[in-house]
């Protein structure tokens, strides 16, 4: 996967954008504790770019195998589709972990010149969460897609929906609904939208649950207790295991139909 020119370009782009945004924020904003604009900027670059790159590259990789006939050839071998999916998952996560490592190196080097940067630990945790969850989701989209163009379209639709359209829809609908209904819808969205789940985990991991406002005090309170932490870990594992299983199941069914 690392030989892919596209992945190399994506890696370069991510490292450049991430390092540039962090450098600008570091130089412009005084260091601050808590949920600062610097922390938000760092996290938003991750939220915007990593899911986009993971979904498009991951899904098109599998769809490309199907389109080129490589997957049909593989199916002639005594290999389980779950192993194929596991291999793809490891390759995809490995490649993006390398990109995250390069980004961290670039930001650290810049912070050596431009001033201290807080939150590198959180950057690592959120990168891991995004890479592990969205790699799994990318493989599902790739397994469903008929060809690379279809995979690209599906990826963009889901990326835009999770990241932008659903929050906008919630905000728009919320203007006409009672506050407690809006709150319930938002809590539902946190649990069914992987972007929101990672974002919620970011607030929990940084100890900034209060930044979400008093309306969510109960929810953040639950997820910071031991039972809540265990629930969050189990829920995160589900976001990885379920898509991978579903992707393997889709490919297996196709293998039987072929």
């Amino acid at each position: 996967m690392l030989r892919s020119r596209w992945l190399q370009l994506v890696g370069l782009l991510f490292v450049f954008v991430f390092a540039a945004v962090m450098a600008i924020q570091q130089l412009a904003i005084p260091p601050s504790s808590g949920f600062s604009r610097q922390a938000a900027a760092m996290f938003n670059v991750q939220l915007f770019l990593l899911p986009l790159f993971l979904l498009t590259i991951g899904s098109m990789n599998i769809a490309g195998d199907a389109e080129s006939g490589w997957l049909h050839l593989l199916k002639t071998y005594p290999m389980k589709m779950s192993r194929y999916i596991a291999g793809k998952y490891m390759a995809l996560t490995g490649a993006f972990l390398l990109i995250a490592l390069l980004s961290m190196g670039a930001v650290l080097a810049i912070s050596g010149i431009a001033g201290a940067l807080s939150g590198m630990g959180v950057y690592i945790v959120t990168s891991l969460l995004l890479i592990f969850i969205f790699s799994a989701l990318a493989l599902v989209l790739g397994a469903i897609a008929k060809n690379r163009l279809h995979a690209l379209a599906l990826s963009l639709v889901f990326w835009a929906s999770w990241l932008l359209l659903i929050p906008y829809a919630l905000m728009a609908v919320g203007t006409a609904l009672a506050g407690h209904v809006v709150k319930t819808l938002i809590i539902f969205n946190i649990h069914v939208n992987p972007v929101e789940w990672v974002r919620f985990c970011f607030f929990l991991a940084t100890g900034n649950g209060d930044a979400l406002g008093p309306a969510f005090y109960g929810l953040t309170g639950f997820y910071t207790e031991p039972l809540g932490v265990a629930t969050a870990i189990a829920f995160t594992a589900l976001w990885i295991v379920l898509p991978l299983s579903f992707a393997a199941m889709v490919l297996k069914r196709r293998k039987r139909q072929a």
Binding site: R3, A28, P30, L101, G105
Partner: protein, 422 residues
């Protein structure tokens, strides 16, 4: 017989066993204006002072009084000074009623329900207090310094922690607080129905609100450092139904909400620094106040308001895209702080969940483009082109971070190259 004489002698000499005058009796026996130096012992009795007196403790002088009686009460008198005493436990450490010209200094209060309580008194000085409240919820505690119907009060150079309110003043005139450090309490300074208060150079942190000022007028809040009020509903400063208030030269940083003006009239918010707050400042039914010369840097939402907006002039905003071609120090175009998300957050608190979410970041950018043409609700027609305070020089260079970053880049590049050519 010898044994009896020896036992009797020991009985008389043994401190505390033989007859000793109580502290209250000693105080009662002193003429007005006397000075009493206390022993380095633990006093288990409550004392009442009703005449001019100076009481000085020494290291080890300690009051431990159980029950509801104040450890020290000063009533219907004047010219009393108490210094260098530790007070532990008890309902109220020091109670002052209907007195004048009282000085309380170098007093350490721990685990008391309420540290200082003052009623109907005048010309009081509290200096170098160290108050540490008991564990538990704010509602079960008293205040660090509680003032009722009093005037000409100074509270300075004191540290107050874990109380309900650090300093609480009700119907009090001319309260001056300076150099105090108040943290982990409900409100750092809480003023109700008061006038002519001056809060200067205090450090307020990690309270529910640093300053809560309600129905108060003709007061100044200046040069304070107010930071890290981040719990649910927390704010650096809340001004409610106040008028003629000057908020000047404060550093307000890393709070959930920096400054909230609610039904405030004829007030000035000038030359403050709002750094890294989740919400810098809000106006709720407080449109007619002067907000000038402030610096808004690194706040997630710089300003928000209800539909009435707020009066802005000559502030610096780090997210403003300004040109200053005529070099007059002000941007050539106006700055509009209106964000539709910020407006909705005022109306529906649940919307705060979306704070700085990717969708909101894009929405804010769209707002910025549109508002520059249309809205005047939160508009600064003369935004400062440069921050009033210059940056503190170049940031310190860190060679180890530079080296570590370069090593990570080299390692990543090497792995990539190795794997892609394998």
């Amino acid at each position: 017989m010898k044994r009896i004489v020896l036992l009797w002698t020991l009985f008389l000499l043994w401190p505390g066993i033989g007859y000793a005058e109580s502290l209250q009796q000693t105080i009662d026996g002193l003429p007005a204006g006397s000075e009493l130096v206390l022993e380095p012992v633990v006093y288990h009795e409550a004392v009442s002072i009703t005449k001019p007196l100076t009481i000085t403790g020494v290291p080890g002088t300690n009051f431990q009084v159980d029950g509801e009686s104040p450890a020290i009460s000063i009533e219907n008198t004047q010219d009393v000074q108490i210094r260098n005493v530790d007070i532990e436990q008890g309902d109220t450490a020091v109670l002052i009623k209907s007195s004048e010209n009282i000085t309380i200094e170098e007093i350490e209060v721990s685990e008391a329900g309420q540290a200082m309580e003052v009623h109907d008194s005048k010309t009081l000085t509290f200096r170098e207090l160290l108050v540490e409240g008991p564990a538990g919820h704010y509602s079960a505690k008293g205040n660090g310094v509680a003032l009722y119907n009093s005037e000409d009060i100074q509270v300075s150079d004191s540290t107050i922690r874990h109380m309900r309110d650090g300093i609480y003043a009700e119907k009090t005139t001319n309260l001056q607080t300076s150099g105090n450090r108040i943290e982990n309490s409900r409100y750092g300074v809480h003023l109700m129905y008061s006038r002519q208060a001056d809060l200067s150079k205090n450090e307020l942190s990690e309270n529910v609100a640093g300053v809560m000022l309600m129905m108060t007028e003709d007061s100044r809040i200046q040069k304070n450092t107010i930071h890290e009020h981040t719990s649910p509903n927390a704010s650096g400063l809340v001004l409610y139904e106040a008028q003629n208030i000057q908020v000047t030269g404060n550093v307000i940083s890393a709070n959930a909400l920096g400054l909230s003006l609610q039904k405030v009239k004829n007030s000035q918010v000038t030359e403050n620094k709002f750094y890294g707050n989740q919400i810098g400042m809000e106006f709720i039914r407080s449109a007619e106040n002067n907000t000038r010369g402030n610096e808004f840097t690194g706040n997630i939402v710089q300003l928000r308001s209800d539909a009435l907006g707020g009066m802005l002039a000559g502030n610096y905003y780090d997210d403003a895209s300004l040109l200053d071609l005529d070099e007059d120090g002000y941007g050539d175009t106006s700055y509009t702080a209106l964000q539709s998300y910020g407006q909705w957050m005022v109306r529906k608190p649940a919307y705060q969940y979306f704070i700085e979410a990717p969708a909101v970041v894009l929405l804010n950018e769209m707002d910025r483009q549109m508002n520059s043409m249309e809205s005047a609700v939160l508009m600064d027609s003369k935004p400062l082109a440069k921050p009033p305070s210059e940056a503190n020089g170049n940031p310190p260079m860190s060679l180890w971070r530079l080296f570590l970053g370069a090593m990570l880049l080299a390692l990543g590049g090497w792995i990539w190259k190795k794997e892609s050519t394998a």
